[in-house]
Symmetry: none
Amino acid sequence: MEISEDSADPRVRMWSPACQAVALLLGPYAEVVLHDAARDRVLAIWNPMTRRGPGDPSLLGELDRLDPSARDVYGPYEKLLADGRRLSSVSAVLRDEEGQPSAVMCVNLDRTPMDRAAALLAGFAAPSTPRPEALFEQDWTERVHQIIGSFVRARGRPVERLGREDRLTVLTELDRAGVFAFRRAVPVVAGALKASRSTVYALLAELKAQGNAS
Amino acid sequence: MEISEDSADPRVRMWSPACQAVALLLGPYAEVVLHDAARDRVLAIWNPMTRRGPGDPSLLGELDRLDPSARDVYGPYEKLLADGRRLSSVSAVLRDEEGQPSAVMCVNLDRTPMDRAAALLAGFAAPSTPRPEALFEQDWTERVHQIIGSFVRARGRPVERLGREDRLTVLTELDRAGVFAFRRAVPVVAGALKASRSTVYALLAELKAQGNAS
DNA sequence: TCCAGTCCGGACAGTAAGTCCAAGTGAGGT
DNA sequence: ACCTCACTTGGACTTACTGTCCGGACTGGA
């Protein structure tokens, strides 16, 4: 991963662990460059994104805005690569033990993947899905009356006059519709059928017995 | 931004530009820690994400796996913060001009923002939810898990780590979906949320109070 | 009228739904 | 390291609902 002009250079030896660590952390999306500021050359480079190598002129104007007498840390500022990729960059002036500037570290982070992801997210998020979350049948009692009503109409006889078999049939349908999974279902059904709670339970027990038997 | 025990420490003076540059580049999502490996202490820290400060023991086991005689760069490896944030971390052994290990730099990058984005993208891209939309959902527990699941995915955080507000939100959605009209709904939801029945009832009461007040 | 079949309402037991509280837990502050 | 506060939890407890049982009442037919 590391490409350096001269690993024997004490500056490279000293700074390469830090540079390499950062390059590792940011995976393929960042390059780390160690510059010789005085000679405007690249000392070493990790994850190169351009074709630069050690010994090449630094280019990119990475060192233009540095003023070691003022500050040591610059950025993040934006840079544009020839192919249009946008970079976020920081630079740090590195000093030797006497406090003299000896090198400059630049980290160039390619933001295009994140920009793309951001755009994608923004595009999807904006016209926000109007909640296709289809809900349950909110009013299940409605459904109870519907089922009973249509049966009564088909049978041509009011609920009060339904015979035993009829009620068994209706209860079967209601059960298939999942009505009895709801709380308070039996009293409601009993009311709608104009029958007593006891009767409904008795009929349901009968159905269950039949169902299990068959 | 920088918090250091003793800026006069030559190691801090020497390494802080590099550390600060990295901290700046990665914005609020990364902390950079400079350790005194020999004494297992923090020398300086940028963008602290935990409560550690200079002079504190290093903790976090950041220095456990280091072996300066072998390599200088470690990682990226994954670490887990107490609050559930997942970190990508790298460490570098920093040496003085004689080549003696003098400090260790650790960069801890919080990946939850990216995880969340990734989760969201995955949620959109994936076959979403193949919605077997029946008129009457026979298997309402299925729906419970679907709703909780999609929320967890959007939130990018496992169900165990959902905060109070998150759970209130989920319960609101479940309620809108009519889940609590079913028998045995609360125990099922409590199980799916990895919370106790009591807690679910408490949160539901809170929602009801809010809803009536407004 | 009597019988058979059914239904009713109420009593009752069992199970689930809610409420309440003391104790435990964990994050944040000092 | 300790305290505090907010929250969670399991369990005890109350209330509501579910399901069963039975005596009495109604109905239609012999």
